[in-house]
Structures are given as C-alpha cells and as structure tokens.
Amino acid sequence: MSVAAAVAQGRATPAEMMAVAAARALSDGEVCFVGIGAPSTAANLARATHAPRLVLVYESGCIGAKPARLPLSIGDGELADTADAVVSVPEIFNYWLQPGRIDVGFLGAAQVDRFANINTTVVGDYDRPSVRLPGAGGAPEIAASCRQVYIMARHSPRTFVAALDFRTSVGFGAGAGDRERLGLPGAGPVLVATDLGVLRPDPETAELVLTQLHPGVTVDEARAATGWDLRVAGDLEISEPPTASELEQLRRLEATQRPQGAAGGGRAPHHETERSRDH
C-alpha cells in the first residue's frame, strides 16, 4: 500500500510508526535534549499524548520549550517564545548538557553500526568524501553525556552499516565496557527506533539486537535492511499499532510544519539522513 493510501485510510505509514515507537519510549516528566527533524517530532508527539510534562531542551538554549507547532529549525522563535528559560549556547552545553542533567538525548544518524555508533559527518573518505554531511553539531556530547540516548533512523543497508565511514558520536564504541574506558558519563543508546522496528543493545555485548517489529514487517525484511548480520531477540515483540489519538496528534503536529515541498528536490541518496539531525 502506498503512503498516501495508508494516510487516507487512517493507517500509519512506516515513518509514522517510527515516530510513534520513539515517542512511546519517553516517560512523562523526563528531560529530553532534542534535535530538529524526526526527534523533535517524536518528542512533541509524546508531549501531545502521554507525556504532557516532558521537558524539551534545544541546543539553541531553549529550556522547557512548549512549541505549538513543530519548529523548522532549532533556533525558531517559537522555541524561545514558549521556553521556561533561554540561555546562551555555552551555558546549554556546559551547564545543562555536560553535567548529565538530561535524561534522554535524541539523535538521528546517516550511518549506525552494530554498536550504535553514529556517523553524521561524511560518506566515503574524509578528505575526499562522496557525500559531505552536516557534521557533528551537538551530537557527540549528547551521545556522551545524556543519561540515555535514543536514535531514530530509517532502516536501510545504507544507514545500518557494518562499518562507519566516520564515527561522529559514540554509542558503545568497540563494544561492552568501551564507554567506561572512554570516560563517557551517560549510559549510551538504549533504543534505536526505525521504520521497521526497534533495536536495543544486548546487555552483555552492547550489540544492537532487533527486539521489536512494527506490524506487518518481517524479520527477513529487517535483516535485509541491515548491513550486518542482525541478531533477533528470542522474545521478539510486535509493536502496538498507533492509536487513533497518536496518529491524529502526529498528523496535526506535522501539519503545523510547512511542507518541505518541491524545493527539497528529488530524494537524493542521503537527503533523509541529513535531515534527521538538522541543526
């Protein structure tokens, strides 16, 4: 079924299922450091549904932003106007992110490897990249310092790769124990929400394991979309489909953001992934 048909029938598209899966993982009252794009959508969906007291922190310095519409950029006036406090960029990184005050850091990715490390810098060789991506932004320190990290990425072998071209942000490094060795204070990624399912790190090895499939997706599809030999949890779960309320709120939110329209051009290979951590 086409995306348009799914929307028309009130059923969730894969991207919507990804947003809902990520949103559900947030608990009310948590403090969440969000980037623009998919993470901001998911966090605002959580706030609009089961987590009305979720605290959104944006790296532009907006603490406790309560946007009525989805911001197009991380420095939107809407974020400042609705924030409990607006602080400088040095303060947001040094006083709020670095000390580990943030419960959940939300990251997108152009590439993710089996230990949930992330690349948002280049595809190909660093000095002669085939695609130059935006770069690090706040991600390395979000990945290092938040108590937990959630990752959102479309599931494809181009994104879920055996080896990153560049490690912009650390998930579990070379595996279990590496975060401790590197002195990274937070617990690292606990969840990777994709449009096919949810991956979580194995508590022993820190390798990402498929623990949940969205309705209608098969294990083979998920494995085919992963660039390494994806392990599957014994107690694999099937995601609850989005509720009517979740879908309604998600679509209402997305309608508040101006459609990207024709200006966005064709679907260039990494266009989606670039947008996933815009700013």
Partner: protein
C-alpha cells in the same frame, strides 16, 4: 569605543583579506547584510568561523571569499544540504576549501576561551569519536585533571580577527542590545580583536528587556545601522524567519550557474544598505 559607521565603511575598515572572521547567529540574528557586503567588496582568503554555517556561508563559500571554514554543523536548517559548501569540499569548486570541524560544544568552548583571555578551555567531549583521532582535528588536545587524573578534551582559544553579529538595537553611544536566542554571539565579540555589530535601529535609550544581552560601547569596534540586516533569518521583535527563502535556496544552490546568477542579481547588483 564603538564608532558608528555605514555598512560599506565598516566592512571596508574592519574586514581584510586573509582575516579570520566569525559571523555568528544561531538561526536567529544572522548577519546576512554584512556578509553580502563582504562579498560585494570581494574579500578573499578568509577563514570563516561559525557553529552553524548555513545559507550565508554557503553564499560566501560559493563566491570564493573563503580559504578555510571552521565549523561544527553545516546544513540548511530544516531543508537539507548546503550545496555550495558540499561542492567546495567534494569537488573543490570554486576553489579548495580547508575545513576544521568540531562539535558544537568544542567550538563553543574555543570561543569561551577566547572571550575569557585563556589559551584553552576544557570539556567532556570528543572522546572515542573520529574527530579525536590523532592528527584529525586542529586545536584539539587532551589535559589531565591535576586533582582527579581524569583525561579531558582541551580546545585552543579562538581569537577571530573580527566578529560580525546582528542585534536589534544600539544607542547613540554605540552600546548594543539583542534579545531572543543569543547563541554564542557575546563570546564571539569578546573573543575577537575587532567587532562589527549591525543593528535594526538606533534608539535613545536601551530599555531593559527580558533575556537581553547588552554589550557596552567600549567593548565594540563599530556599529552600523542596517534595518533588515538579518533577513532571511529573523530578528525577534522585528521580523520573522523567511522559511520560504531557505526552501527556495535548495534548488538555487544545487546548480553553479543558477547560484551565480542569483548572487549577481541579489547581492552583487544590490544597493548596499
């Protein structure tokens, strides 16, 4: 003490070929008009510094003002790639572009050290990333805490030759007030040897406002009145972000010829503010 100049003279006096130039603004208050004046005056070999190079730096790179870019996130916010930046890095057009890239936290602290008169700043960052690979990232090193022995990242102070920012208001003496998202502008100005602030307007008195940053006149080099000087970004209290422009930039900037035509019509032939 800040001198009140027009934009042409301010750029002519403060910005020189080969300078390290920081034009800051975190989505908000991006000094587009000053950047366009730098393009019009044909500055070359600049080292451009900014946390979030976006459309303005895309334009300056495409117009061959820059030899080097120091940055931490280079994209068109909410839209996608910076095609002129990518073309320079991927294909060396219009010339090779050296890059020094950091995380936001790292580059921010380079400014903080500069503003603080310290040679370096310390942060928890970079550890385990490819940015931390030996020889990869200039101005990044490691220090051991003398109390705990912990190893931490150190970034070298950034001291731009000139910082350029846009603010809402100045008073007649050249003190400046900005409000809304303030990014790293105060640090950029205080870290720089010279500074230019373009403002929406001159007022008799800077009325205290919630969340405002005030820079005294004696901490600035020059102030220029440029109404709308942040467009297509926004100036809280004056005008909104022109999101359509950022969308429209995508196809314009994808194509070298279309880009050059646009710059010719909208910047080179534009009447300076």
């Amino acid at each position: 003490m800040a001198e009140l100049l027009n934009l042409h003279d301010a750029v002519a006096r403060l910005v020189r070929d080969g300078d390290t130039v920081a034009m800051e603004g975190f989505t908000h208050l991006i000094p587009h008009a000053a950047g366009h004046e730098i393009i019009r005056q044909g500055r070359r070999d600049l080292t451009l510094v900014r946390l979030t190079p976006d459309v303005l730096y895309d334009q300056m790179i495409g117009m061959d003002c820059a030899r080097k870019l120091v940055f931490s996130w280079g994209g068109n916010p909410g839209v996608g790639s910076l095609h002129r930046f990518r073309d320079a890095v991927e294909n060396g057009w219009p010339g090779p572009l050296e890059i020094e890239e950091h995380s936001h936290a790292g580059l921010t602290n380079r400014y903080v050290a500069g503003a603080s008169g310290l040679p370096f700043a310390v942060l928890r960052g970079y550890a385990g990333t490819s940015l931390a690979e030996p020889g990869r990232t200039a101005n990044l090193a490691w220090v051991d805490c003398p109390f705990t022995g912990e190893r931490l990242a150190a970034v070298a102070a950034l001291r731009p030759d000139v910082a350029v920012i846009h603010a809402q208001q100045a008073d007649r003496d050249g003190a400046v007030q900005l409000w809304g998202i303030a990014g790293v502008q105060k640090e950029a100005v205080l870290a720089a040897r010279r500074s230019l602030v373009t403002v929406e307007e001159i007022v008799d008195r800077l009325e205290p406002r919630p969340g405002s940053v005030v820079l005294p006149a004696w901490a600035l080099t020059a102030v220029a009145v440029v109404p709308g000087g942040a467009r297509p970004s926004y100036a809280a209290g004056y005008y909104d972000r022109d999101n359509d422009f950022y969308q429209a930039w995508e196809p314009v900037s994808r194509d070298r010829d279309r880009f050059l035509e646009w710059m010719q019509a909208h910047v080179l032939e534009a009447v300076p503010a």
